[in-house]
Structures are given as structure tokens and as C-alpha cells.
Subunit: 138 residues, 4 copies
């Protein structure tokens, strides 16, 4: 079960990742090996065709897995992303993006999470990502 | 050989991707099936540990392949990224990031590019990405 | 809903992919946008440490998504894999491997499926893959 | 520079991976952070359309990076693949497949290699893969 709750994780991000906070992503809920985030969509997140930009979704996926890892193991600030794979599936609408990350593996050295993203109000995925984090020795 | 040069591609991006211009990435050179971009690093691109953020590198890789595709086939504004894979290899310094994209395939429906990124002045890669674009029927 | 059932899909594979049949993978069930396969493990599928080889799991993932695509759209023999990404999560046991493929997208030109694999009798995933197929114009 | 040569690496594989030898892949040359392998193509490696099967190319990419890692660090039999990404670019011919693997990173815990594959006699790549290996503590 998680060792940090939504308030603790949000405070930790505000303290350690001031730039990341500027993305506007909001942690909504964490559970056993999962986390759900909401990305409000503003003009700066859009691309021609009024669709959400790829980098916005990639950053959200990265953050969602990082959040799920920290929720489980506590504050390990030197965990770093080693790889990210994303498939863009459908054109997002301009509504908020919901990301649900699930940890497929939480080992001593590597954590792997899968993230499915939706436009709020739809159940058809707009993107699916897998993200690997390297966890430093403790 | 390219059908658009650096000045034409830069103008095209300024016109169509005003938000993307805000990332600050600069197209330096295009050639036969390749493009080289420079990403100046500012405070907003950094993460704790004074390293370049993952989303900055992912956005740069995406842009580099898109640029290489447009250089070869001209203005096809509806080309969309269908997938991106990135391996983060070394901690970047705070210097500019140089991205060299090479098109591995430029088909009628799909284009695939590989991007290697370096901190300026170093020849050890900090990240390697492959990006697939879907090209609309013409 | 599927337009081909397990018996029809099995016959189609035996006819078109005689070499693939030699892998021994068995289609167990298909449903709306998903398929489940079983890979019996024999000596030739093992690696040192008595673990299932990576190529066995990669081939199974590829086949599982292809099966799910054909189940939905019927016999389209020229569909080809354009990319595959796999994360190996845990050491498999020597028991059969179960693969469950779910189609995340089934478009006119591209289909994307996610596959989760388990050693039979365990609910901890041993591998997770995403596979993209290009579907020829009809 | 490599600490094992072609003959030593070939003997090591024959001893430790008797099943892998059955794939028929031949190590041709190793150098500083790279290796080149040849995959003779037989009937069992083909798919309908007389093209080389995806699993054959995926297995070859995996082996090529493993070989390049062992060539540099010596016999570390517990190194395991943690992820593999492959883009299939062109239809292979029925000629031998040549795989050239280059190590992008060789760290204490992770090694990452990029592999480009060609049909013998052609300089247009048929597939590009990146493979990550986890290296056990020594």
C-alpha cells in the first residue's frame, strides 16, 4: 500500500520540482501500485488542429509513473527515467487529460509502469505509454 | 534531397506551431534524410540536479524527426506522431542540446526517424529516440 | 464483436503460417477487441537459468495482437508488424505462458495492441508489450 | 576495447546457449563497443510472402547487443534483457540478414545498444532496434 498520500506527494513535488508544477498536472488519487493524474489543458498545451501536444502527454506519462513509484517507496529523489515508449492512439479533444498509471514492476533497481490516457469524459484511450525508472541503491 | 531549406522550414514552424516556437529549439542544418537542431537550455528546461528535463528531450526528438520529414516531402501539416521511444543514456550537462535526426524510412504512409542527442561539446550521447510519423494520403 | 471464431482463426493460421504453428502457441479465446493465447513451454523455449527465452515471448506477443486484429476484421493476410516494444518484468517459471492481447486502437491504417503475459497460475506479469500493425488498404 | 574475441565469444555461446546456437546466427566481428552478426536465412525463418519473420529479427537484435556487451565486459552470464524496441522498416529479401549493434551506453547497471539490420548486399535498413540489458552487481 502507498506510504505517501495525495497531500504529501503534492507537497513533495511543489518543493522538488518547481518547474514541473508549472505544467499544471494535478494528482487526484493514489492506490496500491497506481496513481491517477489530471492535466488541465490550456492554450500552451495545444497544437494546430486544436489537439493536445505530444510533449504534454509524454511529460504527463512520465510524471504519472514517477508519482506512483514515490507513493509506494517514499521520497527517493534520485530516481531517473531510463526509457519511455508511447503510442498515440486517437486525437485528444481539448478537455482535461486523465492519466492512470499502474506499476507493472517495482523492483530494487527498476520500476516499470504502464499509463493509459483519456480525454475527460471519454473511455477511449488517446495514448498508452510504458515508462521505466532506475531506482538508486539505498 | 531536401525540398525545403532551413529558412523555409523555420518560417513554416513559426507560422504553424507558434507554441512550439516557445520551446526555443533552433533548426541548424538539413540534408538528405537528416536534420540537426539545437535546443538552448534555460531555467525552465531544467530539473533537480540541474539536468535537462525528460520532456524537453522528448519534445526535441519529436520536432527533429518532423523537421526531417517536412524537409524531404514539403509542407504536410497533418502528419502526426504515432509512436515515440526514447532511451535516456547519460545525465545531460546544462549546455545546449544538439539533436541529429536521420530518417530510416520515408514511405507513403509512415516515416521513421532515429534521433541521437548530445550536450554541446560532448560526443557521448545523452539520449537516443525513434519516432514514427503517419503521413496522410495526398 | 469478432467476425472469426477460435476454430476459424486456428485454421487460418495453420494454412497461412505453417512455420508459426511450429511455435506451439494455442489460441484459447477471442472476444471484443481481445484474444488470449497459451504458449506451452518446451526445452527449445528455455534459456540458461531455466527461464523462457525473450524471442519466445516476443513472438507470442506479436502473434497475440495479430490474432486479435484478424478476429475483428477477418482475413487480411498482408497486415504487417511495424513496431514492437516489450518490457521484461519478472523471470518466468517453466510453466505455460498465457498472453492476453487487447486492441487499444483499430483504425483503417494502423492497429495497436497491448499484451500482458503471465506464467500459468500466477497473476504477476512477466512481460508487457505493445505491437503496431499496418493494415493494407482494402 | 573488447576483452573477448570472436572465437572466445562463439565458444561461450555454444557452451551457455545451446538452444540459441540453433538459430544459426554467426558472430562475424567485434570492435570497440560494437559487434556484427550474420543470420543465415533458412525456410524456418520465413513467413508468407517469403519474408524473414519478425521473431527472427527480434532474436537477432537481442543476441547482437548481448554479444557486444559480453565482448566489452567479459562473461557475465546473468545479464538479462529488460526491454527491447524494434521498428520494422522494409520487407527483407531472402538473403542473409546482417546486424550491426553499437553500444550507446555501458554503465554499471544498465547497457543500451542500437542495432541496425540489413539484407546482405543492400544498404537500406530493414529494421532498427534498441535493447537494454540489466547487468548484475559484481
Amino acid at each position: 500500500m502507498p506510504v505517501l498520500d495525495v497531500a504529501q506527494l503534492t507537497a513533495l513535488f511543489e518543493q522538488q520540482f518547481p518547474q514541473a508544477i508549472e505544467t499544471g498536472a494535478v494528482l487526484e488519487e493514489v492506490g496500491d501500485m497506481w496513481a491517477r493524474l489530471r492535466q488541465p489543458i490550456e492554450h500552451r498545451h495545444l497544437r494546430p488542429g486544436d489537439t493536445v501536444s505530444g510533449p504534454t502527454l509524454m511529460g504527463l506519462a512520465d510524471r504519472a509513473v514517477y508519482t506512483a513509484v514515490l507513493a509506494q517507496i517514499g521520497d527517493v529523489p534520485l530516481a531517473v527515467t531510463t526509457s519511455l515508449h508511447i503510442d498515440f492512439l486517437r486525437k485528444p479533444t481539448q478537455r482535461d487529460v486523465i492519466a492512470r498509471a499502474e506499476l507493472l514492476k517495482l523492483g530494487k533497481r527498476l520500476a516499470v509502469g504502464a499509463v493509459t490516457m483519456y480525454s475527460d469524459g471519454s473511455d477511449e484511450p488517446i495514448a498508452h505509454a510504458t515508462v521505466t525508472y532506475s531506482i538508486p541503491p539505498r
